[in-house]
């Protein structure tokens, strides 16, 4: 306990986690639980993106293609092979991870915005392929109509009538990706990725295998993004190419991470927790009045945030906290310690 008091950040984290774990016991409204699930899922995706886009500085705008590959892998395995989604998620990660290597080898020859453009194109290619073919590799995927998953129910099938089960699964996955991100950041890989982000030529002349490290980061990033895609398929019980291979989704994942604080551990989480609810509230309040109004307002909110907090939410919040602590002065901290 003493340790926790001395580290207010850690104490806050533990309290927040406890609150999140107890939350569904208190609130059972499906809409609220559903909203939280989406916040967690977007935080999870933004964190996965962050490993490639933030830590390594390779701005991918094609992460929806990993979401889509993950969703379809899990859905196809579940529908046609009766494979439990728990295994399906791992398979989804591997499929997307391998795809990311095949994609990465040619795309990483490009630097900066050219790399970004190639990822945009890629996502569109996948969307079109899945939209126009009703069977892929001899397996029914339903083309533009999408796939409705058969109902089997239960833990093994990852199908629950009560959304609270998904709440815990997604929260667990979010913690997992956070742990992995934390471990990467403190490892040799993390230092190498940071070096590549700031100056890849200098990194190479210090013995860093730039392409190898980028591919590693992309594999990990794609792996986790795709697991989230598989979970999304189970959560919605229905997927179609236009919603999972969506360019909008790629942009959203990137924006949450960057606005929250790209390259930091907590940035994507902060970004998702603040922006996803804003979007949901706007959608529910304004969505019915005028089509597109919610998105327009969301756009304005984003502009304001980026203008006033160019380094992201996290940086600004931390600065406020530091100022607050200075104002309160050191004696008070001493009292807390005692």
């Amino acid at each position: 306990m003493k340790k926790l008091v001395r580290k207010p950040g850690r104490a806050f984290g533990v309290l927040l986690l406890a609150a999140l774990l107890l939350f569904p016991a208190v609130v059972s409204q499906q809409f609220t639980i559903n909203s939280f699930c989406l916040v967690f899922l977007y935080a999870y995706w933004a964190s996965s993106w962050n490993i490639l886009g933030g830590y390594t500085g390779q701005m991918s705008l094609g992460h929806a293609c990993f979401v889509g590959l993950g969703a379809y892998t899990t859905a196809v395995l579940f529908s046609h092979f009766h494979c439990s989604p728990w295994i399906g998620l791992l398979a989804a990660g591997l499929v997307a991870g391998l795809a990311s290597l095949v994609i990465g080898i040619p795309c990483f020859k490009l630097k900066g915005s050219y790399f970004t453009l190639s990822t945009v194109a890629l996502c569109h290619v996948f969307r079109i392929v899945f939209n126009t073919n009703s069977t892929l590799f001899g397996l029914e995927t339903g083309a533009a109509q999408g796939m409705k998953l058969p109902w089997r129910g239960g833990l093994a099938a990852m199908q629950f009538l009560d959304k609270r089960s998904y709440y815990y699964i997604i929260l667990g996955m979010l913690l997992l990706v956070l742990l992995v991100s934390y471990a990467i950041k403190r490892s040799k890989l993390g230092y190498y990725l940071a070096a590549i982000r700031t100056n890849q030529d200098a990194a190479a002349s210090l013995g860093v295998n730039v392409l190898g490290m980028k591919l590693t980061a992309m594999f990990i990033s794609a792996f986790f993004t795709a697991m989230g895609g598989g979970l999304y398929a189970m959560f919605l019980q229905y997927i179609d190419p236009n919603s999972v291979f969506a360019y909008d989704l790629s942009v959203k994942i990137m924006v949450l991470a960057v606005v929250g604080g790209g390259g930091t551990l907590w940035g994507p989480i902060v970004g998702a927790s603040l922006l996803v609810p804003v979007q949901q509230i706007l959608n529910s309040r304004l969505g019915a009045n005028l089509a597109g109004l919610a998105l327009a307002v969301y756009g304005v909110v984003l502009m304001i945030v980026i203008y006033f907090m160019p380094k992201g939410f996290l940086d600004t919040i931390l600065r406020w906290l530091r100022k607050l602590r200075e104002k309160l002065g050191k004696p008070k901290e001493g009292q807390v310690c005692r």
Partner: protein
Amino acid sequence: MSEYILETQHLVMQFGGLIATNDVSIRCREHEIVGLIGANGAGKTTLFNMISGQLKPKSGKVIFKGNEIQGSSPHQACRMGIGRTHQIVQPFADLTVLENVMVGALLKHASVAVAREKAEAILEQVGLTPRRDVKGGDLNLPELKRMELARALATEPELLLLDEVMAGLNPTDCQGVVELILRIRDSGMSIILIEHVMKAVMSLSDHLYVLNQGCLISQGSVEEVTNDPAVIASYLGEKKSAET
């Protein structure tokens, strides 16, 4: 294996119509300091870039410890034991000085904790310890040059290529770097250095090569080179050579 740690044979590099280096062959013995001088645009840095893998020579060979390595990539060259600094400093601007050096140290030490210790020791060696927690982008030029050197040292190379580490330093700082380079050599490394600060080159080099417009025009001991009429005419100038 020959007595030379590095040998280049007839290196040719061409950028479009410009021949940057033409048939350049240099050699460096183990534990030797080789100086490379010449006017701007003589092809010195191009030569370095071919040795350290940034450029692939059009023809010719780079032989390091008996193996031909021309055309290998920069990270491979570094792994083989060639460390280098850049003429135009290349810091990791948003990492701290310590982290900058740690990236180098991680090559031989996979454990972050061990790499941190190594990096701290090297920072002490180059005199940057007081600045260890400053961001790389916030250093001044002399400090950046030292950090470049520290990073290259951290990869524990056998051959160190120093590209104008003294440019822009005042005489006191220069003297410090000269002593540092001598200490590095004494610790067992071989060094090739490009330098315009004549006093430093003269006092450091065991062997000197002079490049002019991509061609090697003279080589030998400091004394031989400084008395070579071709070098005086093209690079040193009458008066300066009289001073040294």
